[in-house]
């Protein structure tokens, strides 16, 4: 059990390398003739978590649960609606452009689809050097040397440098994106579904590369994915997200051995596994994920929950509790003193 998890519930400013406290990101919904705001999509609705330096926190959930928005808000690509983001003990939730530029040297992001995250009109060399140009005061030679070093670290060749991104396969493009994120020696990397657009055999290579780089550079990862098997492979701790809120947080080992939240259980049971023989005790969720514009009252999962207790699930929002040491779960099953 890592320190980061123990402090998740009452996150403090200097917990781990990155911490968020009650972070919210709403997107306005406009409508009507006057294009007035008619509501909010509560993409991230009060998330507190912390990642200890050198660790990998997996953020898992289905599409629309807000996990990518959370990643981008932490990167300050979106401005948070409410709450705090602490990076290295510093509150960056309302940092201005010039302050963010200094901070971005230490936090970088890798996106899901390398084909769209690389500017098609730039060469590989320009792409990799872009963060160094804007975020460091390195000389041309230093940037060049660093580029060559990175190229070999991520498994590309020097001859690739002058080519355009579309000349590469998806796996190679993702290597370019990784090299770019690494170029300024950041401490934290937000990896937003970095292998979802890739074939499985390529995925394995990229996952191995990320682990190697984590060892070399002592990197901290926020690893966002919908794929539980990938999460299990690469993460130290796991946070499960549902409709803008965290459902459960625990170490990888514990959460996979003994999932507590009914949603976590259903999610795990839904993963098709070639080696699993019988599917008889599979939990099948009813219906679809409700809209984050108008989330269900009380526990957001109650409309699909297979362990629904009663009215309390519909009326009261469950608090994040610690059903066993170091494990956090927001479910009325554990709200008493279980």
């Amino acid at each position: 059990m890592s320190e980061s998890i123990q402090s998740t519930y009452g996150v403090a400013q200097d917990d781990g390398l990155l911490a968020t406290k009650d972070l919210k990101k709403y997107f306005p919904v406009k409508g009507g003739i006057l294009n007035r705001k008619v509501g909010d999509v509560k993409a991230v609705d009060g998330v507190s978590l912390a990642i200890e330096e050198g660790k990998t926190l997996g953020l898992v959930g289905e599409s629309g649960c807000g996990k990518s928005t959370l990643g981008k808000t932490i990167m300050r690509l979106h401005d948070p609606t409410d709450g705090n983001i602490y990076f290295d003990g510093e509150d960056i939730s309302d940092a201005g452009k010039s302050r963010m530029r200094k901070i971005r040297r230490n936090m970088q992001i890798i996106f899901q689809d390398p084909a769209s995250s690389l500017n098609p009109r730039m060469s590989v060399a320009e792409l990799i050097q872009e963060p160094m140009k804007t975020l460091t005061d390195w000389s041309k030679e230093e940037r060049r040397d660093r580029t060559l070093e990175l190229i070999s670290e991520v498994g590309l060749q020097e001859g690739h440098l002058q080519r355009a991104p579309h000349e590469f396969s998806g796996g190679q493009q993702q290597r370019v994106a990784i090299a770019r994120a690494l170029s300024v020696n950041p401490k934290l990397i937000v990896a937003d579904e970095p292998t979802s657009a890739l074939d499985v055999s390529v995925q394995a290579k990229i996952l191995n590369l990320l682990s190697d780089l984590q060892d070399t550079y002592d990197l901290t990862f926020l690893f966002i994915s919908h794929d539980l098997s990938v999460i299990k492979h690469i993460c130290d701790d796991v946070a499960v997200m549902y409709l803008g809120k965290l459902a459960e947080v625990a170490s990888t080992e514990e959460i996979f051995d003994d999932p507590k939240h009914p949603y976590t259980k259903a999610l795990m049971s839904a993963v098709p596994d070639a080696s699993a023989e019988s599917m008889t005790d599979r939990i099948l969720l009813e219906g679809d994920v409700p809209s984050p514009e108008n989330p269900p009252s009380g526990c957001r999962f109650h409309t699909r929950c297979q362990e629904y207790i009663g009215e309390i699930c519909e009326t009261d929002e469950p608090q994040f509790t610690e059903p066993s040491a170091g494990r956090y779960c927001s479910c009325h099953h554990y709200s008493g003193s279980t």
Binding site: M75, M100, S117, P120, R121, T134, R180
Partner: protein, 273 residues
């Protein structure tokens, strides 16, 4: 790649041939034209087309063919200058509107909407009229009317490019606004700007000729095509050739550039890549 695709479309090839011919004619006008553009020959007034004067002569005995050849210089010059000005204004405003959004965008786009509510040629005529005619007022008038198309186009492009993840990536790399606009957005919007430009050229040529025809642009005796037509207009029944040949020149040029623009649009279509 683009050229290869373009060359497969015969209509676009025709357009390219017209464009190249026009530019070459403008450059080599003194070599091609048998007479000077304003050289009057009182011994051959109002002659019908013949071997000596393939397009005939006008009421002052000027060779229409030579005038049309020299007129191409105005066409090319006005086309390049006016489209250049339109593009500069339009692209800049479009970039700013699309990138910054909010109030900036509202103001710029309302400006576009308002000016679009007045028919272009009427607006151009009014501006040229206020400025008092002549080649400068023609350039200003047509430029001020045409930029708004570029603004709309570029703003739309910027909006969709801003949705691309590489803009987020640039932002997290700390890239500043100006550099994002010039290195990320503009290059990715270039192909649609090129296509729109080649489709704007014929409009500009047509409008320049129209304003000159109406006496608000290039003034006679300068051999601008619209101005030549204007001279021949009153004798259209007797000396049809005076207005017909410059008219044909305008028609072929406009069709040619439209064909080229259409061809470019097909060839640059990213969906085919």
């Amino acid at each position: 790649m683009v050229l290869r695709r373009l060359s497969r479309n015969w209509f676009a090839v025709f357009g390219a041939v017209v464009a190249v011919t026009l530019v070459l004619t403008a450059i080599f006008a003194p070599v091609i034209a048998p007479y000077g553009p304003t050289e009057a020959d009182y011994n051959s007034i109002r002659e019908a087309p013949s071997l000596d004067h393939p397009f005939g002569t006008d009421n002052l005995g000027r060779d229409i063919f030579s005038r049309v050849v020299f007129g191409s210089r105005y066409t090319v010059f006005l086309g390049i200058v006016i489209v250049g000005i339109q593009m500069a204004i339009g692209v800049l405003l479009g970039l700013i509107a699309g990138y910054y959004g909010g109030w900036t965008e509202s103001i710029i786009m309302r400006l576009v909407d308002i000016s679009l509510s007045i028919p272009g040629i009427v607006l151009a005529l009014a501006i040229a009229g206020i400025l008092g005619g002549g080649i400068e007022s023609l350039i200003i008038a047509v430029s001020l009317v045409g930029w708004r198309g570029f603004t709309r186009l570029v703003r739309g492009d910027v909006k969709s490019i801003m949705e691309e993840e590489y803009i987020d990536a640039a932002e997290s790399a700390g890239v500043g606004d100006i550099r994002i606009m010039t290195r990320y957005i503009l290059p990715n919007s270039m192909s649609s700007i090129i296509v729109y430009t080649s489709l704007t050229i014929p409009t500009v040529i047509l409008w320049s000729a129209a304003l000159s025809f109406l006496g608000m642009g290039v003034q006679p005796p300068r051999p601008e095509w619209g101005a030549i037509i204007s001279i021949g207009r009153s004798q259209l029944a007797e000396q049809w050739w005076v207005s017909t040949f410059p008219g044909l020149a305008i028609m072929v040029t406009v069709i040619g550039f439209n064909a080229l623009g259409d061809g470019l649009r097909d060839a640059l279509d990213p969906k085919q890549e």
